[in-house]
């Protein structure tokens, strides 16, 4: 009997396949929206938190942890104070400390931040799941006026290895003057990472120092012009940097080193755990993300309402069919079972279609999304939240199909065996 009901449900649905196809599509669309939003949300967060990894502490002049994170990792905004080179050296002498990467910021090239650092940066800096940087073309900087570009800088400006570029003083809208007398040569281009590294121009600390050797207080000194050729002989050791990334031999020491930095005598410094600062920042910008989730829930609700109305509308034309079933011995519970079966099938079919459509869409648009929006979408297995959403959608779709089932039950009782249609 159950097999017979399955058979009847399937054939009856097939008989009305065009109407049902519309319902399946609308459920597929809401599945697509819900899971897609969740995918974007998860991956935005993932690419956000993958901006830095393998670094145990961020160290900078005392300010707020989020501010330090913003300029040291995302190269956004500016430091209120620098830290002295002597502090970097003091850090390096600590037995727990494995490496220190000094970072110097403040210049830009056509809107992209310029980062002054050491050559070890290309080996020691890690992002995502402990992935090292990869030099896609050329080599790391060696000479003084050499630059290594992030992937997006090179791509959006159309730069290749060998290109001469001029850096500007200041960042963003506040570019005050160009270092036109000291043009840099692009010697390397990094592979894509999906992190702020892609948007950064990397030069050496000495080059950063050289740019400003004849500057004071953000402007060139009149009458004191030091040409590029004369620079190599001069003392280019930086006296201060903006911040530093610190790696430890043993992660367990992270809190003791943090305390030591925070209590540093020579100048007011601050050490921050990158993960903690990222979480703090995420709570600020995560509100928009929850709005996205709410939107997709509304979309799902609308398409479920569509499901109910389609099934209800088709119920009238099915009254005769249900009466025939009743006449051959089907009880009202069989009628409800039949409709619930159909609702379940339609919901599952719609959801599967939506999942497949999402997978195809992600696969097809991943490259474009990454280059246009810097968004790295992954064709990964569903997250916990996605599973939850799927289960909720299935339950809601199935419950929605029970509303027509209940009405059919009432109708079949009231109609008896001779529906007045």
């Amino acid at each position: 009997m159950t097999r017979f009901l399955f058979d009847v449900a399937w054939r009856s649905a097939w008989n009305r396949r065009f109407t049902l196809a519309l319902t399946v599509c609308s459920i597929a669309l809401s599945t697509f929206m819900l899971l897609g939003m969740e995918r974007v949300r998860t991956d935005v967060r993932a690419s956000f938190t993958s901006a830095v990894s393998g670094t145990d502490l961020l160290v900078g002049a005392r300010s707020s942890p989020v501010q330090l994170l913003l300029y040291a990792v995302f190269h956004i905004g500016a430091a209120t104070n620098n830290m002295r080179w002597s502090s970097i050296e003091a850090l390096r002498e600590r037995p727990e400390v494995k490496w220190v990467l000094p970072l110097s910021l403040g210049d830009s090239h056509r809107g992209f931040p310029v980062l002054g650092t050491t050559r070890e940066y290309f080996e020691l800096f890690h992002y995502g799941e402990q992935q090292p940087l990869r030099i896609a073309q050329g080599r790391a900087f060696d000479g003084l006026l050499e630059a290594v570009l992030g992937a997006e800088v090179a791509e959006s400006l159309g730069y290749g290895v060998g290109r001469k570029i001029v850096l500007a003083h200041g960042t963003g809208e506040l570019v005050t003057a160009e270092h036109g007398d000291k043009p840099f040569t692009v010697v390397g281009i990094l592979g894509r990472t999906g992190t702020p590294v892609d948007r950064t121009v990397h030069i050496s600390l000495q080059a950063m120092e050289a740019l400003h050797v004849d500057w004071i207080g953000g402007a060139p000194l009149p009458g004191l012009h030091v040409p590029a050729e004369a620079l190599t002989g001069r003392q280019l050791q930086p006296k201060a940097v903006t911040a530093a990334l610190v790696g430890l031999h043993n992660r367990a020491a992270v809190f003791s080193v943090q305390r030591q930095v925070n209590e540093f005598r020579a100048e007011p410094l601050m050490a921050v755990l990158p993960g903690v600062a990222l979480d703090e920042l995420w709570t600020v910008i995560g509100t928009g993300e929850r709005a996205l989730l709410l939107m997709s829930a509304l979309v799902a609700a609308v398409s479920l309402a569509g499901l109910v109305s389609v099934v209800l509308a088709s119920l009238n034309e099915r009254r005769r069919e249900l009466a025939v079933l009743r006449a051959t011995g089907a009880g009202p519970r069989h009628i409800v079972l039949l409709l619930a079966l159909e609702g379940f099938g339609v919901t599952v079919a719609g959801m599967l279609l939506g999942i497949v459509a999402l997978a195809v869409a992600v696969a097809a648009s991943a490259a474009w999304l990454q280059s246009s929006y810097g968004l790295v979408l992954q064709l990964a297995s569903p997250t916990d939240t996605q599973w939850l959403l799927l289960v909720a959608l299935l339950a809601a779709g199935w419950l929605a199909s029970l509303i027509p089932g209940w009405r059919a039950y009432r109708l079949s009782l009231a109609d008896g065996l001779s529906p007045r249609v």
């Binding site: 009847v8 025939v324 011995g329």
Partner: protein
């Protein structure tokens, strides 16, 4: 069992609490194997009476029993089973599930009633063989048996419905104006086939029509307005 097949006593039925009474029947008995012709003008409550006999509708007062079992005395799920086991039903038209095959339509009662599946198997070896025997008895050629029921003509569909009503030898076949969609020649041959089949199966037949030409071929004729005391009220309403 000495109980009559159908036993109605002091039946009163109205569609809604506020509506006028539709049926008020003091007594009606139908014996096993009897072929009864029930007639009356449109709207006199014939279909309603059939729904009451089949236990789909319940009377507000009085007794309506099939095989000694009062429909009102048993819970809904047992009503469904009692009906599936003992009643074959033929509508005026649109009897079949158009997307199912002809033979599958005939087999449908055997899916819901184990008793009728068993009865068909005992007589013909299997329910499928039973379905095919009844289809053949109704003059439907074997090449039609696998076709979707919706492909058949109206006359053929009515004969499929008759085969479905008869499979598994239910005690009563209820036919609600089964010939009204047919033309005159087909009406006669349909009534002939149905009467013969019910006799062969040992099933009683309650046949409703507002056209009383075939009436003489039945064991008994009942004019519903004559036994329905609510008829005068309904006529003036």
């Amino acid at each position: 069992m000495s109980a009559a097949l159908v036993e109605v006593r002091d039946l009163r039925f109205r569609w809604q609490q506020t509506a006028a009474e539709c049926l008020d029947i003091a007594e009606l008995r139908i014996e096993r194997g009897e072929a009864v012709f029930l007639y009356g003008p449109s709207g006199c409550g014939k279909s309603t009476l059939l729904s009451l006999l089949a236990g789909v509708l319940l009377a507000q007062a009085g007794r309506v029993a099939l095989l000694g079992q009062d429909w009102r005395a048993i819970p809904p799920s047992r009503r469904d089973r009692h009906r599936a086991d003992h009643v074959g039903y033929i509508f005026q038209q649109f009897n079949l599930l158009p997307y199912l095959g002809v033979r599958d339509n005939v087999l449908a009662p055997c899916r819901f009633s184990a008793r009728r599946a068993l009865a068909a198997a005992q007589r013909d070896g299997s329910a499928e063989a039973g379905a095919e025997r009844w289809l053949a008895a109704m003059g439907l050629a074997p090449e039609l048996w696998r076709r979707p029921a919706g492909d058949l003509s109206v006359g053929q569909q009515q004969r499929v419905a008759a085969a479905r009503a008869l499979i598994g030898h239910p005690e009563v076949v209820i036919a609600d104006e089964p010939t009204s969609a047919l033309d005159e020649e087909r009406r006669d041959s349909f009534v002939t086939l149905l009467l013969e089949a019910c006799r062969a199966s040992g099933s009683a037949l309650v046949f409703v029509s507002h056209d009383h030409r075939p009436a003489t071929r039945f064991d008994r004729r009942i004019a519903l307005p004559a036994i329905n005391r609510a008829a005068d009220a309904a006529a003036t309403a």
